[in-house]
């Protein structure tokens, strides 16, 4: 009984989602290249049917709530690519919006796969939701494997440092991890920098209750004007930069890698600045 109910909900969600997508993009959505078996999943547990249903509420947020505007999405090359963006907003709607953008506005549509924190698989329901919609635990092996399979991978090199930062640090990029650069060099993957503008204002964190975060095993426990980090209807701008390719040894010294990472960080920072200058207001 639950299965039938589940299927009905899934189909409703899916047609709702597809209704919000431009007509010429619709048939291509279902043609997102996948290697799925007779049970509808790829080896990582990604289920395209599930994802197209699950993504519907996010398409609604994309169109009507955050009213996302993309700039230069055609710069994302076909084949393997690392999408490197700034991370903010307490809850990862920035990742979801980049995902929806690539799915509904890129030609051809791309199903972006992002690397999730290692505590996600310990969470009931969320772990399954993430796996079926194509999100993978962020180990280097997983990332390497997906890049070699020519997937588009989204990475927030600031990680929790970025998403959990306080209002006073808005639009200041935090320290970037080096891991993504090693993988890019090893697999010859181009990097597309993305500047996300708007997410920073969706849930301004006034303070972070660290003991509570520790108790719950969360990376942070922010207190926002809405108390819980419920996002405000800010306007999102996604600025895609030119693809960057790097040469060098993946196991080079950290200092060498840092230089290359710095170049990516600067590119992201520049896109953010550009976005801040160009936007008319936070909500419009």
């Amino acid at each position: 009984m639950f299965e039938r109910l589940g299927d009905a909900v899934k189909n409703r969600l899916r047609s709702w989602g597809e209704g919000m997508v431009a007509p010429e993009q619709r048939p291509r959505l279902t043609a997102v290249a996948r290697t799925q078996n007779e049970y509808g999943v790829d080896p990582f547990g990604f289920d395209l049917d599930f994802m197209l249903a699950a993504v519907a509420p996010f398409i609604w947020l994309y169109r009507h709530y955050f009213r996302v505007q993309t700039h230069g999405i055609d710069r994302v090359p076909p084949g393997r690519v690392l999408l490197i963006a700034n991370h903010s907003g307490q809850l990862p709607f920035d990742g979801a919006m980049i995902g929806v953008a690539l799915l509904t506005e890129a030609a051809p549509p791309r199903a972006v796969r992002s690397m999730v924190e290692k505590w996600v698989p310990t969470l009931p329901f969320i772990s399954t939701f993430m796996a079926r919609s194509g999100q993978i635990v962020g180990t280097p092996e997983n990332c390497r494997r997906l890049l070699l399979a020519d997937e588009a991978i989204m990475v927030f090199p600031e990680g929790a440092r970025g998403i959990s930062k306080l209002w006073s640090q808005r639009y200041q990029l935090q320290e970037f991890g080096l891991g993504f650069m090693r993988l890019a060099l090893e697999t010859g993957t181009p990097i597309v920098p993305i500047g996300v503008v708007g997410a920073e204002e969706q849930a301004p964190a006034l303070l972070d209750v660290k003991p509570l975060a520790k108790l719950l095993g969360f990376p942070a426990f922010p207190i926002t004007p809405t108390v819980l980090p419920f996002p405000l209807p800010v306007k999102y701008h996604l600025h895609f930069g030119e693809p960057m390719t790097f040469q060098g040894l993946p196991d080079d010294e950290d200092a060498e890698l840092e230089k290359k990472v710095k170049a990516v960080k600067n590119a992201v920072q520049q896109l953010v600045h550009q976005g801040l200058q160009e936007r008319k207001g936070v909500f419009f």
Binding site: E38, Y39, P43, V137, E141
Partner: protein
């Protein structure tokens, strides 16, 4: 110099189990088999020589002294959660140690040791596909698999110390089949199995005949070292249960753990509580090395592999 001198033999340990019998059915047509097991081999083909003995006893060495043994398939790893830990450990670890000694001493050319992909252990921070060099972490959460890991490591040490013996360590995924009585098969035969509410890990299963075929493939000259052996692929636990027509009962995981602890303690349930990790977290492996080195292709499809748990007949 006589012409009727017997051919060099393949020694198979643990031959009387379901996997051993499945293996024998195919292998005895090609090779002279000597079976070693403490249990009797019911329905043994006439051309299979059988010794009911314990590997730890001196009598086992006589088999090697009196016969020319060219290869050994060791699947003597007993796993019975109800047996005392000491007896378990002694049988598995001492038995394997003795067997490895005989292999070195009597010039065995090929040694195939059956380990399991369970040696890696399910864990929330596992990569989706573990390669052969991943650490063997299973015992950190479940001491019941300690023997299995130790046997795997003994074989691994032997592989490095005795390069003249071509040693193959196979780590197949969950072996399932109509008569197989291991934890995954038993679990999948439950009409109303517990599942961890909100968790639906990807499973890898291999049909028992395919597992037997893999051991036979390993006998060919060439392959050596550690190999993960994967069946027809990966599938969510929920899809497996649906395929089998079972009705899953979702139980919140903290509750499931304490309840199973109690049920196991009072012998109402036969599943050791740490086995719950397998239906909560991922323990999937990358079998590409085996595919590359022997051109491995399982003969059972995913659907047939799953269905074989409950039925003997191979569907259409």
């Amino acid at each position: 110099m006589s012409l009727d001198r017997p051919r060099p033999a393949v020694v198979v340990t643990g031959i009387s189990g379901n996997l051993g019998r499945t293996l024998t059915k195919v292998l005895h047509k090609r090779e002279r088999i000597i079976g070693l097991d403490r249990r009797a081999f019911t329905g043994r083909p006439k051309d299979v020589e059988m010794h009911e003995l314990d590997l730890r006893k001196k009598k086992a060495e006589e088999v090697f002294r009196k016969n020319e043994v060219k290869a050994v398939i060791h699947q003597g790893i007993m796993h019975d959660p109800r047996m005392s830990a000491e007896e378990h450990h002694s049988f598995n670890v001492l038995g394997t140690t003795r067997l490895l000694e005989y292999c070195a001493k009597y010039g065995v050319k090929k040694l195939v040791v059956l380990s399991s992909a369970n040696v890696y252990g399910p864990s929330p921070d596992n990569s989706n596909f573990l390669t052969e060099d991943a650490p063997l972490m299973a015992a950190s959460r479940f001491s019941g698999v300690r023997d299995l890991i130790e046997v795997d490591m003994l074989a691994h040490g032997f592989f490095w110390r005795h390069p003249q013996v071509e040693t193959v360590i196979l780590r197949p995924v969950h072996i399932v089949g109509p008569n197989i009585k291991n934890a995954p098969s038993n679990y999948l035969r439950l009409r109303h199995p517990w599942v961890m509410a909100g968790f639906d890990p990807m499973l890898q299963l291999i049909q028992v005949e395919d597992a037997a075929r893999a051991m036979i493939e390993a006998l060919r000259p060439g392959p050596k070292g550690v190999y993960n052996v994967v069946g027809p692929g990966e599938v969510p636990l929920s899809a497996v249960l649906r395929e089998l027509g079972h009705t899953a009962i979702p139980v919140p995981h903290p509750l499931a753990r304490s309840a199973l602890n109690l049920l196991f303690k009072y012998r109402i349930a036969s599943f050791p509580p740490p086995e719950l990790d397998h239906i909560q977290y991922l323990c999937a492996v990358d079998g590409s090395r085996w595919v590359k080195d022997v051109g491995w292709k399982p003969s059972y499809s995913m659907r047939d592999t799953i269905r074989s748990v409950i039925s003997d007949a191979r569907p259409g």
